[in-house]
Symmetry: C2
Subunit: 261 residues, 2 copies
């Protein structure tokens, strides 16, 4: 799988060079093309992104990116929401605090690897009271009154302690650490790595930053690759990841590089 949180348009000018929102799509598409090339057919690409406000409007580069990636062959399977429970406070005259980001799920084929049992969550408190005494209809399949075809057999739920999650993830941002300005919590890549890979599988983060994705991958027994253009971040990542795993990073040799800002 590929999990990444690329530099947001213009928002990290001091650290990453800052891509202008209007140029963002054209800057990113050559990269997604390579990601499409290297991802296995059963793999998944999860892109954590959010559009900036430009001149009082949400900029359209994210939704344009989706449309263009579909032209490259990507399937836009799903969009999950990361609800940032402890988002920055603040007050603006025309909007409220931005407390969510997109987690765009792309695939190469309709059939892909997904291990839903790995991310189950505890059932809600309602279950303890609801399932204490079952009525007669609770013990058989009870079809919906509106004829939707929906039905339920409540007795199937007795003893169940874990249920499947929804496509809304509630996670707090991590605070107070790292020399890296775009910090997502470890729980975020961990959730997707567990969901879309098994032990020994490979995880790629093409915008490694301080290496959170790779650190998590290492901790839960996945192989991983990180790519990072800035040596400051690379140094941070090196200190966070087990040394014996760094062979690929440390490879010697000269490389041809394009000129970049």
């Amino acid at each position: 799988m590929i999990f990444t949180s690329p530099p947001y348009a213009d928002s990290r000018k001091d650290t990453y060079g800052g891509i202008h929102p209007d140029e963002y799509v054209n800057w990113f598409l050559p990269i997604t093309k390579e990601l499409f090339r290297v991802l296995k057919p059963t793999g998944t690409f999860v892109l954590n992104i959010k559009e900036r406000v430009v001149e009082s409007e949400r900029h359209t580069y994210v939704i344009e990116l989706i449309l263009n990636m579909r032209e490259q062959g990507w399937l836009w399977t799903e969009e999950l929401i990361w609800h940032k429970k402890n988002s920055h406070p603040g007050k603006w005259p025309n909007r409220f605090r931005d407390a969510w980001e997109r987690l765009l799920q792309f695939n190469k084929a309709k059939q892909f690897n997904m291990y839903q049992e790995e991310v189950m969550v505890p059932v809600g408190k309602w279950a303890t009271t609801r399932l204490k005494n079952l009525s007669k209809t609770d013990k058989v399949r009870d079809p919906s009154r509106v004829g939707s075809g929906f039905g339920k057999n409540v007795s199937n739920w007795v003893g169940r302690e874990m249920v499947y999650p929804t496509n809304v993830l509630h996670m707090a941002t991590e605070t107070g650490n790292k020399n890296h300005s775009a910090v997502f919590p470890e729980a975020l890549p961990e959730w997707f790595i567990k969901l879309f890979t098994r032990e020994g599988d490979w995880v790629l983060d093409p915008f490694m930053g301080s290496g959170t994705t790779n650190k998590v991958a290492q901790r839960i027994g996945r192989n991983s690759i990180g790519i990072e253009i800035l040596s400051e971040y690379f140094d941070v990542a090196k200190n966070r990841i087990d040394k014996k795993q760094l062979m690929l990073f440390e490879k010697k040799g000269k490389y041809e590089t394009n000129q970049t800002k």
Copy 2:
């Protein structure tokens, strides 16, 4: 303001005729053009919508609609999230339960009416413990470590009981009632009506359905207009809205109509 939840593409085949996802944008654009015409310059249009899954992919009609509406002159000011706490259960091999919908905010100008104090929420429990003992840095403006220009003065929060909300709304869908298949909770239009209008202002719902928006508008002292093509829904709405308010609905006369399914 305009608040509406149009028929979702194809999803209510039995009740609304069902617009095919591929035709959805072309079907909706003439309507948004008229909405643009009638909305005041300081007004706001809030569109509650979510894309269907078509052949294992999220369909692109919503994001295409955003792009096309901007061509009409609309500003895409913000996208808020409605987190549906009690979303439909269900299990699928390739996705989880869909627990959120989009609330797209469009405006005609950068300056619009917004009454943020009307939707403040109680401060979280963190305040009672966090503010009990203030450190030295808590009492002055403490700039962000990442150089974002953000700063905070914690002592400003002492004694505050209400705070501004975020752009993520947590509300349960309404259950067990109504002869209308697409029920959003009254709290949803209520939040936006309070935020974007004052008493006596006008609220329009061009897809009235069972009249939830109009009922709420009436309860909190706003004038409202609802438009509904199906007489069954109109009858439901009539029973939910105070009779003396129905003059506009009851207007006599024959109308020219286009042929519709």
